[in-house]
Structure formats: structure tokens, C-alpha cells
């Protein structure tokens, strides 16, 4: 990076512009993920297993490495998901809040740039997300949900597989922003 470039980036106006751009991305990307979840499975039903909002939350938490921001980020995404569902608001919010917190905590101890670590973490948080949601639904709402561990594990693998290229794209966007 040249001296001119460093000067440009450290200048207050450029820094503010970059922050605004990142903020827009932080809003738009989860919105796209939620739209994908509510819109695409109408036509491609097998894509309904993809939990993109969760992956976005994990990616944010792993990249930010700030637990509090990740908590609120995960909570926000979860609450929007709850709003578009037919269940009490807060179910996805709680789960994604915990995921954001734990992902942010883990990112301080592991090298999250490693794809294998990213794959394992994505798989683990998907499983945790589904399991904890099942626990909450049974405990708080009394719903007789069925938890299929094998199916959850399989979908966890698939989500982890999708997470690798998705995180790569998001990293590129972050750098561009």
C-alpha cells in the first residue's frame, strides 16, 4: 500500500464513507439472505435447507470478533426472521443471539480464516441453531417439533459446504467496501 493510499484511507472523509458503505452492506446482505430464504424455495424447493441468515450471522461474528455487536446483529436478523414467520417473535432472535455471541467468542481463540475451521464452525453452529431452536420451541411454546439428528447433521454439512464460498464472496465484498 503506497503512502498516498494510506493517507487517503486514514483521512476522515474517506473513512466515514467506507463505514457508511459497510453499514449498507451489513443491512442489505442479511436482507438478501432472508429474501432468499422466503422466496427461492418457492421455485427450488430443495434449497429450503439453506439457512443463509444463520451463515450471515456466523460470518459477521467471526469477522467482527466483537461479541456485543454480534449479539445485536444476530438478534436483529433473528427478529426479522421471526417477523416473517407465524410464531412468537424472539425464537430465532434468541437462537441467533447465542450463535452470534458464541461465534464471536470462538473467533477470538481460533484462526477463522482457515477454511477447515470455517467449515467446522459453520457445521457446528448450524447444528446448535437447529437443536436450540427445537429446545426453545418445546420448552417455551410447547410445540411437538420433531428433531431428526441425522437430517440435521446432513443439512449441517451442506450448509457448511455452502458457507465456504459464501464467506469468501462476503470477504471480497468487505474488502471492496
Amino acid at each position: 500500500m503506497s503512502e498516498y493510499t494510506e493517507r487517503l484511507l486514514t483521512s476522515p472523509s474517506r473513512k466515514n464513507q467506507s463505514d457508511r458503505l459497510r453499514l449498507v452492506w451489513l443491512i442489505i446482505i442479511p436482507l438478501i439472505a432472508i429474501l432468499f430464504q422466503v422466496y427461492v424455495p418457492r421455485f427450488v424447493s430443495f434449497l429450503s435447507y439453506l439457512e443463509l441468515p444463520l451463515l450471515i450471522t456466523v460470518h459477521f461474528a467471526l469477522g467482527r470478533r466483537g461479541p456485543i455487536a454480534s449479539v445485536f446483529y444476530g438478534m436483529s436478523i433473528g427478529l426479522v426472521q421471526d417477523s416473517l414467520s407465524h410464531q412468537p417473535i424472539g425464537m430465532f432472535g434468541i437462537v441467533k443471539t447465542l450463535v452470534g455471541y458464541f461465534a464471536a467468542s470462538v473467533s477470538q481463540r481460533f484462526d477463522v480464516e482457515n477454511p477447515i475451521v470455517t467449515f467446522i464452525l459453520s457445521f457446528f453452529f448450524y447444528f446448535f441453531h437447529q437443536f436450540f431452536y427445537w429446545v426453545l420451541a418445546r420448552a417455551l411454546l410447547g410445540e411437538a417439533m420433531i428433531f431428526d439428528p441425522q437430517q440435521t447433521l446432513l443439512f449441517g454439512l451442506l450448509n457448511a459446504a455452502v458457507a465456504l464460498p459464501l464467506f469468501h464472496i462476503l470477504d471480497k465484498l468487505k474488502v471492496a467496501a
Binding site: I68, V80, S83, I94, T97
Partner: protein, 448 residues
């Protein structure tokens, strides 16, 4: 406390957020209420984008999809057209089969009820010839078919056998120009000769211009040709004109309407009665005679079981009364005293019309008024003679009696006994004969 919060700040925030959401859920579950604000925000934020995506998808992906769908439309259309053609053929075949079954059933019913001895045959082909109207049928001399036999259907005559081969016969249709048969009109009994014209219509020739034939009138076989028995329907008149010498009467043969497929060949014909004009139309359904209930018309004792109509019962009743008084029923002019019939109120015969002297010749009017023996009006004639006259002795007011004698019900309004007036004292004008409500039937003519 500050130390705790600063050291466990992240955990504290997490707990606060979790607890807040738990409370939110608890509130919703407990109060069964929703948090509309968050939902409205989320839906408002998401749905416009979703609508836009749907719009884009419809005009891009939908277009591409339609394109690929339309690629197969041509082959699918050809396939459907082929299938449609096959179904049409099948439908036509089934309709034809159904029509054949109906015709066969009508033919068998006609064959069973006709007094003539017939053989059913099926048309198997047309004869050659430019103007000739002949067909081959699948019955020949081995079935007893001979030349000159009549060929009919339940709707009318079709033609006659001109050649009989062992296994088939040649039938000349009524539309053949060389065909001829004796016919007679239904209404006015106008006789003529049916001739084919080589077309769908036929001509009735040799009917005088002075004779009356109406359009729509039916012609029947007269039996004069010794081929067709009398009384078979021939056709309905479509047009009538006066010609130079004879009338030009054109009719449509009824036996060939809808084509000729199955026919009956008459091995032995029986003459039939030409129906009256009221019931002349073939296919006109006449209901059977109504069954008598015991409460409607009183049944006189000793009534024959074969009598079915009110007029017959009434006549039988008066006849028995006449025989009991040793006076012939319908003979002479001295009527028996029918007031002695049980059930009829004895009226005062003070002003009965005197019978004319037996030696005098009754006038023509009186002859017409005098009922013929055996007619329904004959039963009423003596009753008319016993009706008192108001001009000579007005009857004292009496309570309205109920007629208990059998009443010939000819009008629905007469069915109510209360509506029938008692034999009121007004005989200046002749009483209405009981059979006057019946449409006048054609007098029996000798030309039948």
C-alpha cells in the same frame, strides 16, 4: 458491581438481550397477542423487494420458461389433433351404433304389433343406375321373399321388392321414378297414385282438381295396388297445386326419413284402418283409458264388465230400464219412463213433449235431432222428453237437488256434481245433448 459489569460486559449484554427476548416471547404467549410493530416493519421492508423480484422473474424467467414450453406445443398440438380425430371417429361410430340399435328396436316392436307377417332385412347396398332408386337387402328367396312384396318401416312404406335372389333382394324405393302405389288421403279420402320422382319428394297423381287436399295432410296406402296393404302411412303433403287436369300433390315419404337402414318385408299383408285425423299423426302418443275409482262415478248394479266408458254405462242403464218397461231401446218414438231408473229423481212429467204420431214422417231436423241407435245421444233423448216446461207450469221452488244419476263427464268443470245444474224447468230450447262436449267424430263413411 462496576468491576463485575466491566469484566463480564459481554456476558451481561448477552443475558440482558436473551432475557428481553424471553420476556417478549412470554408476553406474546401469555397474552396471546402479537407484536405488530416489528412484524409490520419486517414485512414492509421485505415484501416490496419480494414483489419486485417476482415481477422480474415473471418477465424474465417466465418468458424463458414459456419459450421452452412453447417448443413442445407444436408436437403436442399435432398429437392432440390426431387424438381428437380418433375420438371424433369413435364418437361417430358409437352414435351410429346407438341409432342402429334404436331403429332395430323400433322395427322389432312394429313387427311384433303388426298383424302382417313380415321379415326384417337390412339394406346392404345400392343398385346401379343413374336415376334409379333401388337398394339391395340381405334377405332373398330363401327367406320367403318374392317379387312384388311390400317393404315398409314403422314410419311408412319404403318400396317394393322387384327382384328376389336367393340371398338378397332388390327393392325399388318409393322415390324411384318408375314406382307407383295407390294412396288415399287421411282427411278427405282423396285417392291417387303415388309416383316417385327420383328425388326426395314424391308426387300423388290422378287426384282431381276439385278434391280437397291440405298441406300437412297425411296420405296412406289405399290397398288398391294389391301390393301395399291398406292403412300404412305414406307421407305428409308438403305442397298442393291445381294442375291442368289433376292436382299436383307433393309429399315427403315418411318411411325414408333419416335414411333406410333396416326394413320389414311383408310376406303376408293385412289391411289396416286408416286412422282418423285427430289421431293420425304417427308417433302421437295416446294415454290409456283412465282407471275408474269407485267414488267418482256410481256403478250401476249388473253392469257388464266390458263397458269402459261413461256413455256405455249410461246407455246400458237406460237400455235395461227400457227392457223392464217392455219398450225397445232406440226404437220408435215412445220413450220409456226413464225416471224410474234408480238414482234419478222422479220429475213431474206434467209438461212432457208429446211424442209425434207414429204414422207421421218426422222432418229432417227432427231426424237429425233423433239420435241414432247406439249413439251416446240416444241415451239422452228420453231424458230430454221428460224435462218439464217452464212455459206451461213453472216449477215451485225446491231445494237444489243433487243429481245422482250417472253423468257423462265431458268437461272438467262437469266433474263437480255441484257445478251441474239440476234439471231446471227451461225446455223451450232443446237441452244440450250430453255428448255435445265431445268433439264431433267423423261419421262412419263407407269409403273406408
Amino acid at each position: 458491581m462496576d468491576f463485575f459489569l466491566s469484566r463480564y460486559r459481554n456476558l451481561t449484554v448477552l443475558l440482558i438481550v436473551i432475557v428481553a427476548q424471553l420476556l417478549l416471547i412470554a408476553y406474546q404467549v401469555k397474552s396471546n397477542k402479537d407484536v405488530p410493530l416489528i412484524r409490520v416493519w419486517a414485512v414492509t421492508a421485505v415484501t416490496p423487494v419480494e414483489q419486485g423480484l417476482e415481477l422480474v422473474r415473471r418477465y424474465t424467467w417466465g418468458f424463458v420458461e414459456d419459450y421452452f414450453v412453447l417448443l413442445g406445443v407444436r408436437s403436442q398440438n399435432e398429437k392432440l389433433q390426431h387424438e381428437n380425430g380418433q375420438l371424433k371417429i369413435e364418437n361417430h361410430y358409437l352414435k351410429s351404433e346407438l341409432s342402429t340399435a334404436d331403429r332395430a328396436q323400433a322395427l322389432s316392436v312394429f313387427q311384433a304389433h303388426s298383424p302382417s307377417k313380415t321379415v326384417a332385412a337390412r339394406v346392404i347396398g345400392n343398385g346401379t343406375g343413374a336415376n334409379s332408386k333401388v337398394v339391395f337387402v340381405d334377405r332373398g328367396s330363401t327367406s320367403g321373399i318374392e317379387s312384388g312384396m311390400a317393404v315398409v318401416t314403422p314410419d311408412g312404406i319404403v318400396g317394393k321388392v322387384v327382384d328376389a335372389y336367393p340371398m338378397a333382394s332388390l327393392v325399388m324405393l318409393v322415390t324411384d321414378p318408375t314406382f307407383a302405389a295407390g294412396v288415399i288421403s287421411q282427411k278427405n279420402r282423396v285417392r291417387g297414385t303415388l309416383k316417385g320422382l327420383g328425388q326426395t319428394k314424391c308426387l300423388v297423381d290422378y287426384a282431381q282438381n276439385e278434391e280437397k287436399v291440405d298441406e300437412g295432410e297425411w296420405f296412406y296406402t289405399s290397398g288398391d295396388d294389391r301390393i301395399f296393404p291398406r292403412g300404412f302411412p305414406v307421407g305428409q303433403v308438403t305442397s298442393v297445386h291445381n294442375g291442368k287436369t289433376f292436382k299436383e300433390i307433393y309429399l315427403t315419404p315418411s318411411g325414408m326419413q333419416g335414411g333406410v337402414e333396416e326394413v320389414l318385408i311383408m310376406l303376408q299383408g293385412e289391411h289396416l284402418q286408416i286412422p282418423d285425423s285427430e289421431s293420425a299423426t304417427p308417433g302421437y302418443k295416446i294415454l290409456p283409458a283412465p282407471t275408474e275409482s269407485a267414488g267418482e262415478v256410481p256403478q250401476p248394479t249388473g253392469q257388464s264388465s266390458v263397458l269402459t266408458t261413461d256413455a256405455d254405462r249410461l246407455r246400458e242403464q237406460y237400455k235395461q230400464s227400457g227392457e223392464a218397461q217392455h219398450r225397445g231401446f232406440g226404437e220408435g218414438f215412445v220413450a220409456p219412463d226413464f225416471t224410474k231408473i234408480q238414482g234419478i229423481r222422479a220429475s213431474t212429467p206434467a209438461a212432457t213433449n208429446p211424442p209425434p204420431p207414429s204414422g207421421t214422417q218426422p222432418s229432417r231436423d227432427r231426424q237429425e235431432a233423433q239420435p241414432k241407435p247406439g249413439s251416446a245421444a240416444a241415451a239422452d233423448a228420453p231424458a230430454k222428453a221428460s224435462v218439464p216446461s217452464t212455459a206451461s207450469a213453472p216449477a215451485p221452488p225446491k231445494p237444489k237437488p243433487r243429481p245422482t244419476a250417472p253423468i257423462l263427464v265431458t268437461d272438467p268443470t262437469d266433474a263437480d256434481p255441484d257445478a251441474v245444474p239440476p234439471p231446471a224447468p227451461k225446455t223451450e230450447k232443446p237441452a244440450k245433448p250430453p255428448g255435445s262436449g265431445v268433439p264431433p267424430s267423423r261419421p262412419p263413411s263407407g269409403n273406408q
